[in-house]
Symmetry: C2
Subunit: 218 residues, 2 copies
DNA sequence: TATAATTTTTAGTCTAAGCTAAAAATTAGT
DNA sequence: ACTAATTTTTAGCTTAGACTAAAAATTATA
């Protein structure tokens, strides 16, 4: 069994590995966890002893298969609980992260098994992120960022890259959620900003907005 | 906000106060938490500083109103989660304690509010224990121990005093659960043992068994 | 009521996990 | 290629919580 702190480090390293390829630096870990690099170094060394990750001084850390398995289990729990919070308790998608952050650390295999089937074995969470199965396999989806579309193309929103309450609330204000169709009416190559159409509304979005929305184009 | 350890101490002291009247000793706390008396003393002193309880050296601890409020909130969460686990996920009443022990420490007022209404605002948990409302009020019930009944009397099972898996599994084996009618066919005054009737079955129960089952007689 | 037995507290360690400041290694700039 | 700047690690401290062993207080017993 792993402590709360250990689980949080494992999860963070897992997520960083998705973005950055190769080993993740202790600084990156510390930044993303709002802690100090020295603390990250300590923990990474401890987790290396436990064979959860491999660590080369000054080079960074990389989860082992064992570590990935642990991380995947946590991610699965987090996302299943998010589905529960939204589908069953009626929370809004921008309110569930904090709570799921706590619930993901509840230890009970049977609980997750039952929760999963209670929820109808969902494959995506309320933000469009895939829920790994019991074996840790993620569904691979063909998704692009909205910012990768060009003028006259369209896509259906399938998820968000950033899921901060601020961003999610912005999307709500614009009536964008999973399943929403988005037409690209114009694109400014200078700054990457776009004019898009959502339902009957047409409005301007900055590159930063478009960079954090996943769409399916097929 | 209180740490996990603090919450567990507060909860334990709350439960001990229900049984023992007056202040609870650090030894009683330590015993019931599987820790050492010196640890209990340390924590009790810290909680006294925080005005969660009053503590007189060598005399024991007593929760303040503030402390009772915290404890009640934890008990409410524990029991609501137990209802969720049994009613929604199909767990058996002897399997839920451990998991609820973890879930009771999730912090979110909104979550509990929503969970409560999702469950239909239950007033009793799967073991027959009352669920305090948001203000911390418990429903008062007229319940006796099975061992307090005499020959030819009957009662309806409304709860258990002990809720160890072993005891609950025994009750299951005998088809006794909340709502089960129990007739006392005979009672041995020497050792307090009884012969009871449950459905079409008649069998012997020791005083220890009868001492841990609550029944309603009205 | 003095002494023995028990309970409770204190004092001093230990571990997990964090931090600061200094040292060491790596990367960048000239 | 050699400093300078940056990143990363190490060393040493801090706090929460638990433990052991010793001291102090309380309760029981003769």
């Amino acid at each position: 069994m792993y402590t709360l702190a250990e689980e949080n480090y494992i999860k963070t390293i897992f997520h960083l590995q998705q973005t950055i390829n190769g080993a993740v630096s202790t600084n990156a870990i510390a930044d993303s966890m709002d802690t100090k690099a020295s603390s990250a170094t300590d923990m990474v060394q401890k987790l290396a002893d436990k064979k959860v990750l491999s660590y080369v001084k000054y080079k960074g850390a990389q989860l082992t298969e064992k570590g990935k398995k642990i991380a995947t289990k946590i991610v699965r729990k987090h996302r299943l609980w998010e589905v529960f919070l939204v589908d069953k308790l009626g929370f809004h998608w921008d309110e569930v992260h904090e709570i799921a952050e706590q619930l993901e650390h509840i230890h009970s295999t049977e609980l997750i098994k039952r929760l999963d089937s209670f929820l109808g074995n969902p494959t995506f969470d309320p933000h469009g992120d895939p829920i790994p199965d019991e074996l840790g396999n993620f569904i691979k989806t063909e998704k692009k960022l909205l910012s990768q579309l060009n003028k006259s193309q369209f896509g259906v929103c399938v998820g968000v890259k950033e899921s901060s309450p601020e961003y999610l609330q912005y999307l709500d204000k614009k009536n964008i959620s999973i399943g929403t169709k988005i037409n690209v009416l114009g694109k400014e190559f200078f700054d990457g900003s776009m004019v898009i159409e959502v339902g009957r509304d047409q409005f301007f979005v900055s590159k930063k907005i478009a960079d954090n929305l996943y769409v399916q184009t097929a």
